[in-house]
């Protein structure tokens, strides 16, 4: 299923949207697949599977540690497609892949897109690829009917917000605060501004807010002005602390706040 349809269906039903991140290969490929499936079973609407990368400059310590562990355990890029194939055959949620750019560039942008489509993946979130550098990816994602999620930040100019929003498909990723992934007390102030900038520049586009969201209250608040909340580090930390049961209960906890 396409990300846009999922969000649109939720909006039509008056339901909030939760987008959940989990790193591939952590702590092993099989366990990361089980974790992703469990997240959807507990109520995550859209999955964001992270490709472990040696130099994750957008990530805080929690995700750095998990993806570092995945690489140390021998994660290989081609396993991304195996995981996407298995997860999307088992659950009905759109499966996005979140990846830094160099792995895609080395694999071959066109081939990556083609293999991702064949595996049933919905598309890519690209934290270090700005639209200005994305010509090859724009072409490949069009050719293979894939979502492409660009980021917008509190510091992005109106013109940049417009470009990123117009070129995004699925949703545009509004960075809630100036910073890297991690759990934060306060996400709201800047995030509202970014979302309203997207609304102004590209009224048709969906916006999901990410970076720093870790509680049910935050996810609920974000959904009151955006089209979805993205949660990552909080899920990874739950898994680090208590494995699959803790992850399930963290997802349940956030979902219960959204759905009541």
């Amino acid at each position: 299923m396409k990300t846009q349809d999922t969000i649109a269906a939720n909006r039509a039903a008056g339901t909030d949207t939760l987008i959940g991140y989990f790193p591939l290969g952590y702590p092993s490929l099989a366990e990361s697949i089980e974790a992703a499936v469990a997240m959807v079973e507990e109520g995550v609407d859209v999955l964001e599977l992270g490709v472990p990368y040696s130099d994750p400059v957008m990530d805080g310590l929690v995700i750095q540690e998990a993806t570092g562990e995945a690489l140390a355990a021998g994660f290989k890029l081609r396993q991304t497609f195996d995981a996407v194939r298995e997860v999307s055959s088992r659950v009905d949620a759109p499966v996005l892949v979140m990846t830094y750019w160099n792995p895609v560039a080395q694999y071959g942008v066109e081939k990556f897109a083609s293999d991702l489509q064949a595996a049933g993946g919905a598309g890519l979130i690209t934290p270090d690829l700005i639209p200005d550098e994305a010509a090859e990816w724009l072409a490949a994602s069009d050719a293979h009917d894939l979502d492409r999620v660009f980021l917008v930040a509190p510091t992005s100019s109106g013109e940049r917000v417009k470009t990123a929003s117009d070129l995004s498909r699925g949703f545009v990723y509004a960075v809630s605060t100036m910073g890297i992934t991690g759990e934060r007390q306060e996400v709201d102030t800047l995030a509202r501004g970014v979302v309203s900038s997207v609304r102004q520049q590209a009224p048709e586009q969906f916006t999901a807010v990410g970076i720093g969201i870790s509680t049910s209250e935050q996810a609920k608040a974000v959904n009151s002005y955006a089209d979805g909340a993205i949660v990552g580090s909080a899920f990874v930390r739950a898994y680090q602390d208590g494995g699959l049961p803790a992850l399930r209960s963290k997802v349940r906890d956030i979902v219960s706040g959204l759905r009541k």
Binding site: Y53, S54, D55, P56, V57, M58, G60, Q64, G68, L71, K76, L77, W101, N102, P103, V104, A105, Q106, Y107, P127, D128, L129, I130, D132, E133, F150, L151, V152, A153, P154, T155, S156, S157, R160, A164, V175, M178, G179, I180
Partner: protein
Amino acid sequence: MANLRDQVGPYFGEFGGRFVPESLIAALDQLDATYQAAKADPTFVAELAELHRTYTGRPSIITEVKRFAALAGDIRVFLKREDLNHTGSHKINNVLGQALLAKRMGKTRIIAETGAGQHGVASATAAALFGLDCVVYMGEVDTQRQALNVARMQLLGAEVVPVKTGSRTLKDAINEALRDWVTNVETTHYLLGTVAGPHPFPTMVRDFHSVIGNEARAQMLSEYGFLPDAVAACVGGGSNAIGIFHAFLDDESVRLFGFEAAGDGMDTDRHAATLNYGKPGVLHGARSYMLQDEDGQTLESHSISAGLDYPGVGPEHSWLKDLGRSEYRGISDAEAMEALRLLSRTEGIIPAIETAHALAGVLKLGKELPAGSSVLVNLSGRGDKDMETAARYFGLLGTD
């Protein structure tokens, strides 16, 4: 053909660009705009030149080293003495320029990465001079092999943060500095220490270091009456090399040689010979040659020299390599340490271990260049910071 010297970013052929989180774009745009305005502003140009005259100690001199040259063969060797700059290396050229820009942008805090510690020391120095807060990220491995420079930075008032992630060297220090910058970009300027990173850094840092080659070219002509046949420098990220190359890019008679760290040797996989053994890819915000595996994961580099121990390189070098304008070769730890010993013994000049890679390269060039050739070498730094490594390497501590 257009002059190679006129090339500016964001792209050098297929290299360069900006592969960074969107959160940083506004800061990069602000930096670029501030730099463009400053470059065209006679006040800025004069202020930087005056700082170089009265603080850095520019122009740096050229020393002909006859006894060392005799070891290389029938060539003449000239050293551009960046080691005599305040703080002991070429790094200060870039740091003073960027610190002035930080002030222009109203930023009160600078952050920097450092490998050998020379860029960290230079940054801490500029921060002290201009009254800025300064945090230096340094791989934990490097804080150990460059302990004296950690103390120097602290004495200068900087906070040194040991980076414990990844390979715990320069590459990871850059990651950590980028994370800090994303978070604190309002108040903070990232004073990147080499010609790598997203645009405008490769162009701007090159421009600040081009004073090296501009001076050296004029000095060769006025003091000796000719241009050198070859120019040589060590290449880590590539700042001292591009700094001395740039003035000569359009002098077709002048060959350009960059010497990378070959670590345990070019026939091993423990090296930092990015341009020799890397492939084009994206690292730290730019497309350039880099050491990576087939999945695009960055490989760890290896070198006795912390300042060359980096799996990436600036995009302009990748461009010059592919154009065939400059040649890049590897020098092993052992070859570099021998050159360090030889320059010390024959000339009374103890070079930095980074720089010793260029000197070892010159010893080899002596065997291959036509008799009577002259080689200009960027003596990018002095060896004081490396005394512990060198003393241990040569068994001079008495205890090991």
